[in-house]
């Protein structure tokens, strides 16, 4: 269960505090419910995912985890550009306390990412698609109750999308997802509930179809 209580978020700009990105956002994600995060570009989807993932802190309000939550996958975050894919993977294994079974996990990550010899090249040489392949493999190598995906599949090619979908399907029943995506099909496939972000406010829908409908209606106006 993840409890988001009354959070406010704005970023510091070069001339003082910026506009509120999120205002008075509250919701509770029950156990084993996958949630789609919907909203137009700049609505605050990534910001909310970073807050839920504990990477960033809200200016006001609290985010409480009552389960193991992954870091947000997507946008090349969490990869040190000067290190190779393998070195990054080892680092992440170590901070998660898996010093003893690093070879197993590396093998799994390498197999999942399918980036070939580039696994031993610095991450700064990677394309966006390669980065998301690696990131996706990295987070799946650890057991989390909730995985956070920030458009992690959007930069991938067809084969990676297929693989990602199969992996998401595999998670059903064991873990849940919070995903932001502009692919309506993906959202409908994997999520039962939806959050529609609009003008800094979050609207919770028990059914993802209702959330998508509300989002589309707002675009027509």
């Amino acid at each position: 269960m993840i409890i988001v209580d009354n959070i406010y978020k704005r970023y510091q700009s070069s001339h003082g505090p910026g506009k509120w990105v999120l205002e008075d956002v509250s919701f509770v994600i029950p156990r084993n419910v996958s949630v789609a995060l919907i909203g137009r570009n700049g609505a605050g989807k990534s910001t909310l995912l970073r807050l839920v993932g504990g990477v960033d802190k809200p200016n006001r309000g609290t985010v409480e985890h009552r389960c193991r939550v992954s870091w947000p996958m997507g946008f090349g975050g969490g990869l040190q550009p000067s290190l190779t894919g393998r070195q990054n993977a080892k680092f992440i294994c170590r901070i998660h306390g898996h010093e003893d079974d690093i070879p197993d996990r590396i093998a799994y990550i390498q197999d999942f990412a399918e980036i070939g010899d580039s696994f031993d090249e610095p991450v700064r040489t990677y394309s966006a698609g390669m980065k998301s392949r690696l990131q996706f493999g990295l987070s799946l190598a650890f057991d989390f109750d909730v995985y956070i995906s920030d458009e992690v599949t959007s930069t991938g090619d067809a084969s990676f999308k297929k693989k990602a979908n199969a992996a998401f399907k595999d998670l059903v029943g064991r873990s849940s997802l919070i995903m932001a995506s502009h692919g309506e099909g993906t959202l409908k496939d994997f999520c039962s509930a939806g959050i529609w972000l609009n003008k800094g406010h979050a609207h919770w829908f028990d059914n993802v179809d209702d959330a998508l409908k509300a989002y589309k209606d707002s675009l027509k106006l």
């Binding site: 504990g54 870091w71 550009p81 010093e99 079974d101 057991d143």
Partner: protein, 267 residues
């Protein structure tokens, strides 16, 4: 997909220890493998520095400073100042260099500074051991300590001072980036006034007492006194003063990290 048996939740201490291990390996890797020169330069820079200063002192026909050979005097001053400077200046940039890693909740800004200061202390210790053994073995410089305890005390005090400096400046630079330039400028007078390359004994009162407010001056004098019991220590040298300054700086630095932790993580 392979599944792994669930592990019980780790205690905060265990998490911190594994973060330190992982960061240490990461830091050591980038520090020693980035660019061909990085490993060579680690040793080459202090050696070159020593040679240049030695030439200068030879031109000035100075052979003995404070009762010990000028080469021994220089090597101790130059390398031991680095015990403060390397951890201090490298640790100062630890947060910005590791920003990406804050994606993982386990990694806190203070961890990156602590690990870097530890790594730099370890590297500078290696540099000192190599240079000292080379100087003793090849040039017969009297560098074997008469009182090892004093040398260790000085080393540790200077390193703690570097830790305090890094803890404070890392936060300050993240909050106000312009301060980075000021800290860099500040380092030069600290170095020149510490007695690392310019003997403080040649400076008249009351100015010498003013320079002795620099805690590093005390560390360097004690290190020299530890190496040679015949060294004439500057009046007013007090190792306790170095430790007092270091502890105050460390506490202040840790307080800053605690106070601004959220701000350091927030973009």
């Amino acid at each position: 997909m392979t599944t792994y048996p669930d592990k019980p939740l780790r205690t905060p201490l265990l998490v911190t220890i594994s973060v330190w291990q992982a960061l240490f390996l990461r830091e050591a890797n980038t520090r020693l493998s980035s660019g061909r020169g990085s490993t060579v330069w680690l040793l080459g820079e202090p050696i070159l520095h020593t040679v240049i200063m030695l030439l200068l002192f030879t031109f000035l026909r100075v052979k003995v400073v404070g009762g010990i050979d000028v080469l021994a005097w220089l090597i101790i001053g130059l390398t031991f100042f680095k015990v403060f400077k390397n951890p201090g200046t490298q640790g100062q940039n630890a947060i910005s260099a590791n920003k990406v890693l804050f994606t993982y909740r386990q990694v806190k800004p203070v961890d990156t500074v602590l690990v870097r200061v530890f790594l730099e202390g370890f590297l500078v210790l290696l540099v000192i051991l190599i240079i000292a053994s080379a100087a003793i073995g090849l040039f017969n410089v009297a560098l074997w300590p008469d009182d090892m305890g004093m040398v260790v005390l000085a080393f540790f005090g200077l390193w703690l001072m570097g830790l305090g400096y890094a803890l404070i400046t890392s936060v300050a630079i993240d909050l106000i980036p312009e301060l980075g330039k000021i800290f860099n400028i500040m380092m030069t007078p600290l170095y020149m006034g510490s007695g690392a390359i310019i003997p403080l004994s040649g400076i008249s009162e009351p100015y010498r007492s003013w320079l002795m407010y620099n805690p590093m001056a005390h560390g360097l004098e004690v290190a020299r006194a530890g190496v040679s019991s015949s060294y004439h220590v500057i009046l007013g040298t007090n190792i306790a003063y170095l430790y007092e300054c270091a502890l105050v700086a460390i506490f202040f630095g840790l307080a800053l990290h605690l106070r601004f932790q959220t701000k350091l993580l927030t973009q």
